[in-house]
């Protein structure tokens, strides 16, 4: 049977792509963020997950506003990293975990989540950077299932709905008949805002409360509307929705393997957590 072995959540600041490309991990500006990852590398080496289910938001690579899904899932055999216009070097493509992806897709739709299904899929920095942070040699030892949440066009799916979709993904994984160790990734956040007169907005107090809730009160943030989240975490801080999907897959208690938080990386309060089901 498939089993969730962990939840890894991390910021996905585009500038990290350049920093990785230029090997700036030990540079004083970047070091506080990259230092979060050796404990995660040790855990990955020990636990050896087979499949990553990655909850993230596309920024105009696989989807444009001509067709903007609220939730999408990639069932493609190959997930392709390519030019996304932000000047981030592309990475080797990622093998898709097709059997599990189709199983989750079927299960979610039967569970009232109307997924858009992608049999071809391009993946942008929100998917690729967490992978490169976990496996810096970019030789992917896992297959992947991308789950995409709209954070581009408001209204966004509510935090409550995102958490419930995570729960449904968790049920789908638990009912997958093949043996597989699944790592769930939540990509994005925490507080940041790129646009408007309030650009540069960061809310450390909210972020720390949110990180605590990821461990101790996972549905805490589901009380907030999309605009509440903009007010509290900045326009792009809403990416914490991906963390809520990921946390929803293990609705019960978790223990913290690793947690780190640093302000700023680019315009962002950068955070990383690795949680294990208890």
């Amino acid at each position: 049977m498939a089993k969730i072995v962990g939840i890894m959540t991390t910021s996905h600041v585009p500038a990290l792509g350049r920093a990785i490309h230029l090997n700036l991990q030990q540079d004083p500006y970047w070091k506080p963020f990259f230092d979060g990852f050796p404990p995660i590398h040790e855990w990955l080496e020990r636990v050896k997950p087979d499949i990553v289910v990655s909850c993230y938001n596309d920024h105009g690579l696989n989807f444009f506003l001509d067709k903007q899904p609220t939730f999408a899932i990639g069932t493609a055999p190959e997930l392709i990293s390519t030019d996304e216009g932000w000047g981030i070097p592309s990475m080797p493509s990622f093998p898709g975990a097709e059997d599990l992806a189709w199983h989750i897709r079927d299960s979610l739709i039967r569970d009232d989540f109307d997924m858009l299904t992608c049999q071809e899929m391009l993946v942008d920095h929100a998917f690729t950077l967490p992978m490169a942070l976990m496996w810096p040699d970019q030789k992917w030892p896992v297959k992947s299932v991308p789950v995409c949440v709209n954070t581009v066009l408001f209204p966004l799916p509510s935090a409550r709905r995102c958490f419930k979709m995570g729960e449904a993904i968790g049920r789908a994984i638990a009912s997958f008949p093949e043996d597989a160790k699944v790592l769930v990734v939540g990509s994005g956040g925490l507080s940041h805002q790129l646009e408007g007169e309030r650009a540069g907005f960061i809310n450390k107090e909210f972020d720390l409360k949110f990180m605590d809730s990821m461990v101790n009160d996972p549905q805490w943030a589901t009380q907030f509307s999309d605009l509440d989240l903009v007010e509290k975490t900045g326009n792009e801080g809403v990416e914490l929705l991906n963390w809520l999907v990921a946390r929803g897959t293990v609705p019960g208690p978790v223990k913290v393997v690793h947690s780190s938080f640093h302000i700023p990386i680019s315009n962002t309060a950068a955070a990383t957590m690795l949680l294990e089901p208890v």
Binding site: F64, L194, G196, G200, I263
Partner: protein, 117 residues
């Protein structure tokens, strides 16, 4: 049509249905910058490239004057404008932040650092 009043958050423009309708041509142009050939074509003649995508005068003016807040007012979505700013113009997010807040880049970066204290 009478429409319910929208909730606004000072200094935080929301990319909603109205913005998506207003900005479609602009965002579609920015989406084209996922290709280097298109970025190069834009650089060789910005106004001609804007017209090819059907941008209106206000949108073209916001492009040529590098008016970031103006680009948002005419419907630009930040993830699409990011392709213009980063991939085409070579600006980073602190440049963009400074342009929108009236700070120098160093002042903007200092504000980010201060948020961590």
């Amino acid at each position: 049509m009478n429409r319910p009043q929208k909730r606004t958050i000072p200094g935080a423009p929301i990319f909603d249905s109205d913005a998506a309708r207003r900005g479609y041509a602009l965002n579609k142009m920015c989406y084209s910058f996922n290709s280097k050939a298109n970025r190069d074509e834009f650089v060789s003649d910005e106004v001609a490239y804007c017209k090819k995508f059907g941008l209106d005068e206000a949108q073209i003016k916001a492009i040529t004057t590098r008016d970031v807040l103006g680009l948002i007012r005419v419907g630009g979505g930040v993830y699409f404008l990011g392709k213009l700013a980063g991939g085409v113009l070579g600006l980073d997010m602190q440049d963009i932040g400074a342009l929108q807040t009236g700070m120098t880049k160093d002042e903007f970066k200092a504000k980010l650092v201060a948020a961590g204290h």
